[in-house]
Amino acid sequence: MDRNTFDRLVESHLPAAQRFAIRLTGDPHTADDLVQDALLKAHRAWQSFRGESRFTTWLFRIIINCFRDRFDARPPEVASLQLARDAATNPNDDPARTSASKEFGEIVAYEVSRLPPRQREVLVLIVYEQLSIAETASALELSEQNVRTTLHHARERLRQRLEPHVRDRKP
């Protein structure tokens, strides 16, 4: 792949990279810094993309490596739930949506972003980025069995944390 094509690919994938980083970190500002670090790494490592995997998978792997570099030593201070709610407010929202379901959506996002890093990576890639088990294993340099086990633990943890909120939801 020539360099100009690579540059255009990265640019076209920036929105997806941002959304992925926000889901990983739970905070838009931290996500921006994470993506900037990833862009520098991608710029230096562009020749390592040989088309053997999807470009998304390659780029997300770089973002995950930057995420691990930042947060392996110091777990991120996840924004409080109130801050997460404030950040998730979208002026284009349909006002007919019940505030309860909006609140629940924010709680789900908050709990996902609170998962331990490895569980969070696996769950976000599979559930929200819709990568397959094989692609996730490749991106995270894990075995497929390891990915399945981690996903199972992540789901069980979320189930325990979300069930109380589901009971409190208004129909």
Partner: protein
């Protein structure tokens, strides 16, 4: 971000997960990231072009040297030249021989004159005046209209003119510090970085304190970090190094250090 999707299993957890709602990226942050990527790509192109020009120049030099070496030297023609005997110029004044004091003063004056013409010869006057004119032109940009000031920032953003644009700041007392601080919030990402680099070049304890205050008030925080990381001042460097290992600022400080080293 809303991710509605149909549940593909009977597990209610899938429905719950589908309702997750994160903050959407703002248009401003998307623009900044795109600007950052374009800046990184552009710098890579500039350095590629510089490398290509350097390689081409090297090839031309090598070919030129080869041509010179392979030419046969001209036949040596031996000519005997009889040089006339050197004329000895006596320092003696007509009338009487110079005194010892007169000789000392005379020799000192000759030495002083010789030293003066040496220093004139070492700095070709034409080059000095061109440099001064160029820096005066740059200084007029940062004192001029907003469009002129933007052109000054673009000179810093351009790797070929950056050093000259920064050097012009060394030879003036009329520094555009306030304008540069305002430019830390410029809509263009590359010019925000230019302003930060210029502030880092200006340096100084008062400016350092001001940049630290901006960081702690979350005002153009990233650009203020780049300015500190670009600075040679000890306090600025100490602040950035401490921030790079702190919980609150580690990411942004490290990102700023990387951005400052790309210059």
């Amino acid at each position: 971000m809303n991710e509605p999707r149909e549940s593909i299993s009977n597990d209610p957890l899938d429905q719950w997960l589908a309702e997750a709602r994160w903050a959407a990226p703002t248009a401003e942050s998307s623009r900044r990231l795109r600007g950052a990527w374009l800046e990184i790509s552009r710098r890579r192109l500039s350095s590629w072009r510089r490398g290509a020009v350097a390689a081409a120049a090297m090839i031309v030099v090598v070919v030129g040297v080869w041509f010179v070496i392979r030419e046969e030297p001209p036949a040596v023609v031996q000519i005997a030249i009889e040089s006339p005997p050197a004329k000895v110029v006596s320092a003696q004044l007509p009338g009487r021989a110079p005194t010892a004091r007169e000789l000392v003063l005379f020799n000192a004056a000759v030495r002083k004159k010789a030293k003066g013409s040496e220093s004139m010869a070492s700095t070709p006057p034409q080059v000095v005046s061109q440099t001064v004119v160029s820096e005066n032109a740059i200084a007029r940009l940062w004192r001029g209209s907003p469009a002129d000031f933007q052109r000054y920032l673009e000179q810093i953003a351009n790797s070929e003119t950056r050093q000259r644009a920064l050097h012009a700041l060394d030879n003036t007392t009329d520094l555009p510090t306030e304008r540069l601080i305002q430019a830390l919030a410029h809509p263009r990402a590359d010019l925000r970085v230019s302003a930060a680099i210029a502030l880092g070049h200006i340096d100084g304890p008062v400016l350092t304190k001001r940049l630290i205050d901006m960081i702690e008030r979350d005002q153009s925080r990233r650009e203020a970090f780049i300015a500190l990381a670009s600075s040679r001042g000890r306090e600025a460097q100490r602040y950035v190094q401490t921030a790079a290992v702190s919980e609150q600022y580690a990411g942004i400080a490290r990102s700023a250090i990387i951005a400052s080293t790309l210059q």
